[in-house]
Amino acid sequence: MSQSQWSELVNYFRGRSMWMLHYCTGCGAIELPPVMTSRWDMERFGIIPMATPRQADILLITGYLSIKTLKRVVYTYDQMSTPKWVLGFGSCTINGGIYWDSYNVIDRLDKYIPVDIYIAGCMPRPEAIMDSFIKLREMVQKGEAKGYEKYTKNYEWYKANQDHVFGRSEPVLRKAEEVTKSA
């Protein structure tokens, strides 16, 4: 079996088994239960929700991201192992949605992490979500979903964007030594 055949095989299996971490920040999360349960049942495609980024293949961002939240998303994304894919869910991840002019909400997710598929809508219907899953599966099986490679390749760019936007916020809690000092 040649290298390409092997990777085709691997991609096929990967496409058949995609585990998802849903990062529910906004209102869009309400559309997920129908997707998971009997009405649409995403498990038939081998897609099941997981508890931690270590286990997951897909990172699903369901809504607007404030700067603080973005920090967590980036950390979570970093903690996932390759191969990994990001689904931007709803208008908020595309252009900030109704928070487009907010001082502390980012307006475009793929400036900070690579997004493989955006699902438009406010909010997107479950059908749209299912469709995106199928799309992603096809892309994976064809070997087209390479967002994570893009991230590695252009890491400086992403990092600069992240640092730029994080500069606008201070840590919520104090530093460790300050915490211990006050305690």
Binding site: F13, E43, G46, T52, R54, S81, T82
Partner: protein, 297 residues
């Protein structure tokens, strides 16, 4: 030559147990889905998952992490060869049940060591829960085991199977009904099915022991689970369902037991941990003790 043969047999049995275990879990997922009026994944979904997991890059927290996960998988693989299953019985004179149980314990210890060394408290909490639950279900299970021991006058699984030969009425299921019920409930705990799945409670402790596992580590975990499922149901088949004359009947009987567990799993919520243990020490233990009393007196 014999050694080589046994080696090949052993590896074969290991592969079989993995395959059957994975298939069982896949079928289980399908059945659960149907109960919940979903379509459900294909029964072989778990093979996809395993393949994906083993081919996915992963992170590790150190050598103990690796070793623990390998030990968890390997010790069960070592235990499964001692299990008499139908006509396949590689070491007929070495099938002491307690030995198999202690070998399985090594797997748990390895697993526990691995996930704890990751340094994630969720994992450790999960392990603590698992061990607590283990103390819960082992007691009624021990009551049943020792009843069967005394009843059959042997502690070797092969001999217990032999003692049940000759028809349905000779099965321990019929002769030791209380014990069977107790063991069945204990099995539910052993398999970690609801209502005893507090170990991996995903929403409370982020799937407990598996929290830091990704890629092949999670794959090893799944393999361990599938072999464990195979051994545990296999022990039950040997203890109560009279073993089997060939491997297919054996697997069928195993599936019957697993099916029962699945049914309960599909409709139950989760116990709190101390509720789970005290439940185990009330009803099943009472049944086990009644059974032991009946056997002894």
């Amino acid at each position: 030559m014999t050694i080589l043969l046994k080696l090949i047999q052993g590896i074969g049995v290991g592969a079989l147990s993995i395959a059957v275990g994975l298939l069982f879990i896949g079928i289980g997922r399908k059945i659960t889905a149907r109960i919940q009026r979903r379509y459900g994944p294909p029964p072989i979904q778990n093979f996809f998952d395993i393949f994906k997991l083993l081919s996915k890059r992963s992170i590790s927290h150190g050598f103990a992490f690796d070793l623990g996960l390998i030990a968890g998988f390997s010790a069960l693989l070592a235990a499964v060869v001692f299990l008499p299953m139908g006509q396949i019985n590689i070491f007929p004179h070495n099938s002491s049940l307690i030995m198999i149980i202690y070998l399985m314990t090594m797997a748990y210890l390895g697993m526990a060591m691995g996930v704890s060394s990751s340094g994630n408290p969720n994992a450790t909490i999960g392990i603590a829960r698992a061990l607590t639950m283990m103390m819960g279900y082992e007691v009624p299970f021990a009551a049943v085991i020792f009843s069967v021991y005394i009843f059959s006058r042997t502690g070797s699984l092969a001999n217990i199977v032999a003692a049940q030969s000759g028809g349905f009425l000779n099965w321990n299921l019929v002769r030791l009904p209380f014990g069977f019920v107790a063991a069945e409930i204990a099995l539910q705990g052993m398999l970690g099915e609801k209502p005893f799945d507090m170990t991996i409670a995903p929403s409370e402790i982020a799937s407990g022991p598996m929290v830091e596992m990704g890629g092949k580590y999670l794959g090893f975990g799944m393999l361990q689970h599938s072999i464990g499922l195979f051994i545990e149901t296999g022990i039950m088949v040997d203890l109560f369902l009279g073993g089997a004359s060939n491997i297919w009947i054996f697997i069928a009987k195993q599936f019957v037991l697993y099916f029962a567990a699945l049914m309960i799993n599909a409709i139950m919520p989760r116990f709190r941990i101390e509720e789970g243990v005290s439940f185990m020490w009330k009803f099943p233990l009472l049944l086990g003790v009644v059974q032991a009393l009946i056997v002894v007196l």
